[in-house]
Symmetry: C2
Subunit: 568 residues, 2 copies
């Protein structure tokens, strides 16, 4: 019954089939290396090394972190050499090395939290093991069995607990607990105290070295990373929004939708990556927040209990807005596209809302970056609300363009079309009335079949306007609209089912309504974002904005004062 | 200029302010424990333990995994006891314990991949350290310096490499490399060989124990988990889709939008959690796929190089559909809602598409679960395409309900409303013509101010229908529509800006068009999903479907045959 719908979606599937997207750089490297087919592996290795270095160049902190890691390890190994006189110590060198390797994390917060959970794990394991050791000694020849059973129980419980979502952060602590518990119990009765002390000492040495290097040499703060990430998200969503609006208005169409977008994987498309990274950063933000709360007050964040969670909230509210941008991008990806004429008609208003929306996102991003409050006397959302309202009103006024107005422009309003035959009858009647068959929408609009005084007055106004809107006939539209590739297949078919064609026409016009709905919903969601920002700016005690206007006013007052004195 | 728009979005923000969502269970436990305010901590501990046990009860595999972990640890500790005669060994007991603790992972694939990268790390570190050891011996009194420098370089490089995204899976390997490298270099010249051998031996013992327990005792396969996850996602999206469609048609409105939804965090809302878990499972799927490729053929997956990546692709295509469900949910969350009458009008068609769509998702989910191909003679998407086409056609026919038809029903089509004054003039003229001021949309529709033959004929048809649509007057609508809470604030205002009210009216009607657009786009994306499934079913060699119809036919043929023989 519905061949066209199916052919559309099949085309859609074909259009988007598995395309390997390579970045320009990758392509460059690959094209160089593909000269010799045999060096395939060598090329891949080169590509890998190139990408790794590129990663480091993009974020030099990663080089610094790596060097810090190496430094801590080297210091510990030197310390162990100098301690070699204490012979028994070198047996346990592994403890300080293990500590350094596991506690060296990217940010200070991550190192501190890992160190804390490791220390807690070691301590509790030590105390518990000491108690069980006393019991096992009492068990005589069953000692090994008692120990094995207690290891089994402790291991099972800690393994189970670490599966609990909120405990996953403390995975390391649980592993250390298991290790320490087993080791202490295994170490047997001989020189129990001495062993425990020397192990603890080496662990402490490792932890000290690691913390000193992490904190003293070019400190990397998780809080700062979180702060930067939130700012980056604001900018990403802003440029995605602008990109979506511009591409939509410029009739940008994907020749082939990157398959990565279809299965929601990272892609190079800047429009897509902007909102995607904001949407995807949720888990990163949570992790960074988990680390940031461990960090002492520092830099711009000189406050105990700094409200890092509010940054995450702001980013969450931004994400809620980003979903609308995602939906707008969906309109660009969609198979059914609105005609160029309609887009042109609404262009200014849509552009306005997009620009104002992006401006607000950028402004908020800047405020977050500079840790500055909003000016209390300026309503940030005023302009975007005005723009959205204007767009909404225009949609309201021009709503007849958004539907298949042809039928009822002729004065008919078929109420019940469950009966398809009846529809066909009405159609035929309509064609009888309009001799040019399927008249263009525009023609139907300005040629009222029912003369009426007020309308006549209006027509003159309309005809003075030099054809702002050009609707071709339905068939012309099909031929012209290259941005709607799947429709081309219909043209070849000799028997065009006009009813279906019209259906797609109206769907096509409605698609603009959908796009604007998203834009307006996006604007509606901005209030939520602003509230989240205001809460953040209160709790984090952002600075008052430097009101340039006030300063200028003061200057002008003084100038006038000085002038008046001078004149006097 | 636009107070109403702002008041709407402010209300929206208030409505959704920070609400702590507790699950019913949590509330139950908390309410019990809040009887005594002092036991706050105790209550939290109880809540934690309750939740942990609940987690285990929900997925008993977690208990099993924990027990396996404990078992492996206990076996290793027993082995070390028995080996105590080899005195030197007990010094290195830590190696086998470390190995067990680090390699014990939830699934076999995860254990194997960790074991492999650990082994690779140890081996390469050992060989490298051996070489450098020879060099350092040659360096004489600078030996320590040479060692420290090489530790620094090796540590930095491996620390840097493990930051690379695709290397994050091998984090453990890099840590083991650093550990082994440093330990081997530190161990000094005395009995170099013996130490290395005994360490390797103990590591091998730990790995053997761990692998035997992981594989032999109730094996947990990552591939199976991935398989189940994909099936779960299908069902989640299907029930979210049904929920969205039903809630939308039943005028479900959130009294207060859970703040967790606004900042896209997990929430109890079944409608929300269905698609959210499908959207969020991307990283879990990637991780599971990374482990599954390590697993040998087993169970239903008896094939070398089983195409696990295709499961991820199918799930990605499903995610692309889930975004549309998310957008539909956005319509339910949105501030501007379509009137009940419109929803009622389109109810059957929308319901049809929703039901058929959900059916397909469930069917595909079942096929994936049973590892069964699609029947080649049945077009799975036929019904849903028909339903979507019908909906689309109905929208086309009834499109005049979706826009503010009032103005041009009166025969006017104002072309250019940039000039607001001119709009006002036209409005006043309009009010002059219609003495009842702001006539209802429905009235405007059936009371044509311009008599016309064909329309008259149609009106009789309409008036025979017992008022399927009830549009109140604009003001009535405001008072009646309690599902649109923010609008109530307007009613109190004495000066109602009618123009704005109308604007919202048309926005409200267009919101239905938006919802249906999503539904239709969802259907269009199904083809992509079906293709992904077909590719999976080919590559993974799913079984041919048991064609029940064929079987039935065969039975009936036989029965007839037997009967005819009996009659003869």
């Amino acid at each position: 019954m519905a061949p066209n719908f199916r052919s559309i979606s099949r085309k859609f599937a074909e259009r988007s089939k598995h395309r390997l997207l390579l970045s320009r750089k990758e392509l460059g490297v690959l094209s160089e290396s593909y000269i010799d087919e045999d060096d395939h592996r060598w090329a891949r290795l080169r590509l890998f090394l190139f990408n790794v270095l590129e990663m480091g160049r993009a974020d030099p902190l990663q080089f610094i972190f790596a060097a810090k890691c190496g430094l801590a390890l080297a210091i510990v190994s030197l310390l162990i050499f100098f301690k070699e006189p204490f012979d028994f110590m070198s047996n346990y060198a592994i403890y300080s090395i293990l500590t350094v390797i596991h506690i060296s994390e990217f940010s200070i917060g991550a190192s501190l939290s890992k160190g804390f959970s490791g220390a807690l794990g070691t301590l509790s394991a030590g105390i518990l093991a000491l108690g069980i050791h006393q019991i096992s000694v009492g068990a005589g020849k069953w000692q090994e069995i008692v120990i094995a059973i207690s290891v089994f129980i402790a291991g099972s419980i800690s393994c189970f607990l670490k599966l609990y979502p909120s405990m996953k952060l403390h995975d390391f602590g649980f592993r250390v607990f298991m290790l320490s518990f087993t080791i202490v119990l295994e170490s047997g009765t001989s020189d129990f105290a001495q062993e425990t002390i020397s192990r603890s000492l080496l662990i402490a040495v490792g932890a000290c070295v690691c913390f000193s290097v992490t904190i003293c040499v070019y400190p990397i703060w998780a809080g700062e990373d979180l702060h930067k990430l939130v700012v980056k998200n604001f900018r990403g969503v802003a440029s995605s929004l602008e990109g979506c609006v511009n591409n939509y208005l410029q009739q940008f169409g994907y020749e082939r939708i990157p398959s990565k977008i279809l299965i929601y994987q990272a892609s190079d498309d800047p429009l897509y990556s902007g909102y995607r990274s904001a949407v995807e950063s949720a888990s990163e933000e949570d992790a960074l927040m988990g680390f940031a709360v461990w960090e002492p007050p520092h830099g711009h964040y000189k406050m105990l209990n700094y409200p890092w969670s509010n940054y995450v909230k702001v980013s969450g509210a931004l994400r809620h807005c980003a979903f609308m941008v995602m939906a707008m991008h969906g309109c660009i990806l969609a198979e059914i596209q609105s005609p160029a004429e309609l887009r042109h008609m609404f262009k200014n208003k849509i552009q306005n809302v997009g620009t104002e929306g992006a401006k607000i996102l950028r402004e908020l991003g800047n405020k977050v970056e500079k840790l500055e409050k909003l000016s209390p006397d300026i309503d940030l959302l005023e302009k975007v609300h005005e723009a959205a309202e204007e767009l909404q009103m225009m949609i309201d006024q021009k709503s007849y363009h958004l539907v298949n107005a042809e039928k009822w422009a002729a004065g008919k309003r078929p109420k019940d079309f469950e009966d398809v035959d009846r529809l066909q009858e009405l159609k035929e009647e309509e064609i009888d009335i309009e001799p040019n068959g399927i008249g263009s929408l525009y023609e139907a609009n300005i040629k009222p079949p029912l003369p009426c005084k007020t309308l006549e007055g209006h027509i003159t106004t309309l005809s003075n306007q030099p054809s702002m809107v050009h609707w071709g006939s339905s068939e012309d539209m099909l031929k012209q609209q290259t941005q709607w590739p799947s429709r081309l297949s219909f043209v070849g078919e000799t028997i065009l089912n006009m009813r279906e064609v019209k259906t797609y026409e109206s769907a096509s016009a409605l698609s603009l309504a959908t796009f604007t709905s998203f834009l307006i919903e996006f604007v509606a969601r901005l209030q939520n974002l602003v509230s989240a920002f205001e809460e953040l700016s209160e709790t984090a005690k952002f600075s008052e904005p430097v009101n340039i206007l006030e300063a200028k006013e003061a200057v002008s007052v003084w100038t006038r004062l000085l002038k008046s004195i001078g004149i006097k």
